[in-house]
């Protein structure tokens, strides 16, 4: 119950201020569009780099929205109530990360294939792109959640968050982007999706505890 309440509360907060999500998605689109402008309109080259560009841009976009994940609750005292509440803090962390994924990971997975069309990806690659983002972004939300919890109240927390999260996000990025490449060679994409799923599940099984530990020591 508490899980659902917190999850719906976070979604409702976003619903009341849709601009916050729109900015993240707009960043994703603009950052992606810069690559053809910088590299040139040659469609073969663009189709080759599309997977990496879209995945890296999705990673940045999901990080961009993370610095407010716990900071807003920290400022208005809601985080203290979560720390005092009788239910496990890990569950609250999971609810917040799930809500974050709903409003960033999911829209990014929907939006990315549209941009993929502009990069000249074929139908199979577009499906692989959406699928890998769908399976991989939960891991990004959790890793980013850890970085957000660790940097809560730090100086220059935004840049620090990116420095902490990016090396840890490398495995997800590699398997996400390479899944789209293997569709071109006719290999099965499911191996990559399975590994991405494994990464997401490992994050799901371990990181809520680490995030909760980070929040507890932030509350001390």
């Amino acid at each position: 119950m508490a899980f659902a309440a917190l999850f719906l509360r976070d979604l409702r907060l976003v619903w009341r201020r849709p601009g916050d999500v729109a900015v993240v998605l707009a960043f994703f689109v603009v950052a992606t569009v810069l690559f053809p402008l910088g590299i040139g309109p040659e469609s073969n080259l663009l189709a080759r780099i599309a997977a990496g560009v879209l995945w890296a841009a999705a990673l940045f976009a999901s990080l961009l929205s993370l610095d407010r994940l716990f900071a807003a609750d920290h400022e208005d005292g809601a985080l203290d109530l979560m720390l005092l509440a009788p239910w496990p803090l890990e569950l609250a962390v999971l609810a917040k990360c799930a809500a974050h994924w709903m409003v960033t990971g999911l829209p990014l997975a929907v939006l990315a294939p549209l941009l993929g069309v502009a990069f000249g990806l074929d139908a199979e690659s577009l499906a692989a792109l959406a699928l890998t983002l769908l399976v991989g972004t939960p891991a990004l939300s959790l890793i980013g959640g850890l970085a957000a919890a660790l940097t809560l109240g730090a100086r220059r927390s935004g840049a620090l968050l990116a420095l902490l999260a990016l090396p840890l996000c490398v495995p997800t990025l590699i398997f996400g982007a390479s899944a789209i490449e293997v569709t071109a060679t006719g290999e099965s994409v499911w191996v990559h999706v399975a590994i991405l799923g494994a990464l997401a599940l490992v994050s799901l099984a371990t990181l809520p505890w680490a995030i909760a530990a980070a929040l507890r020591q932030a509350g001390e």
Binding site: L146, L150, G153, P167, L168, A213, Q217, A218, E220
Partner: protein
């Protein structure tokens, strides 16, 4: 372990390290001089790589020691989180920059070695890339531990990061290996051949020991400084 707990008290540790450090510095300096002379002058040049093989005497030890340093960082982080040893945070703060410097030396000597051997300073080889990521993990630890006005908060945050990072290191290594086989099927020649000649192996092992001593000496010295700095902070806050 139980015997080491008595050193968890910073004041006691400081007395201990002050007694040990002068002797340790002398041994370290001697070991380094002997090792460098052995490696750079006495050891024969490699039959394939010529004199460039001598870079190995810095490159290989700094590589293993910076990896070991990250494990030490994770162990210190765990003991700070579990036992709340006041010294563990201070020592982690002292260790991270030393480990990062070793990793940087390893990367720099590696690229200097790569230039004559592979014809390029940098290739996106799996080992190089995962080492670069290890260097970034160190940088994250250093930045995080110093990002708070309350130093103990920084210590604890960095401790969690070190533990999570140490769990992630094998996953990162595995994914980079995978990425490399996908992007770059041709592998790169490694140390000239499957075995290394004893005339090169012994000075290498010696340098490994000497640089490990240097690592320990630097960490002890920096830990002393961190203890003093923390005392200053506390006395300033009391005023």
């Amino acid at each position: 372990m139980a015997d080491l707990h008595f050193l968890a008290n910073p004041a006691r540790f400081r007395r201990f390290s002050q007694r040990v450090l002068p002797a340790l510095w002398i041994v370290t300096a001697l070991a380094l001089v002997v090792g460098l002379y052995w490696g750079l002058v006495i050891a024969p040049p490699d039959y394939q790589q010529g004199d460039t093989v001598r870079i190995m005497f810095l490159h290989v030890p700094t590589a293993s020691l910076s990896m070991g340093g990250y494990l030490l960082l994770a162990a210190l982080g765990a003991s700070l989180l579990v036992w709340r040893h006041p010294l563990a945070g201070l020592m982690a703060r002292a260790t991270a920059p030393v480990g990062a410097t070793y990793a940087a030396v390893c990367l720099i000597t590696g690229s200097l070695w790569g230039r004559p051997m592979w014809g390029t300073y940098w290739v996106w080889d799996a080992r190089l890339t995962s080492f670069l990521l290890l260097f970034f993990l160190y940088l994250g630890h250093i930045a995080l531990s110093r990002a708070y006005d309350d130093s103990e908060r920084g210590d604890r945050a960095a401790a969690i990061l070190a533990v999570v990072g140490a769990i992630n290191v094998p996953i990162i290594k595995f994914s980079v290996d995978w990425w490399n086989t996908l992007h770059q099927p041709d592998s790169i020649m490694r140390l000239g051949g499957p075995t290394i000649d004893p005339s090169l192996l012994w000075p290498l092992l010696w340098m490994m020991g000497a640089l490990a001593l240097l690592f320990v000496a630097l960490v002890l010295m920096r830990t002393e400084t961190e203890i003093d700095r923390r005392r200053l902070e506390i006395s300033e806050n009391q005023d």
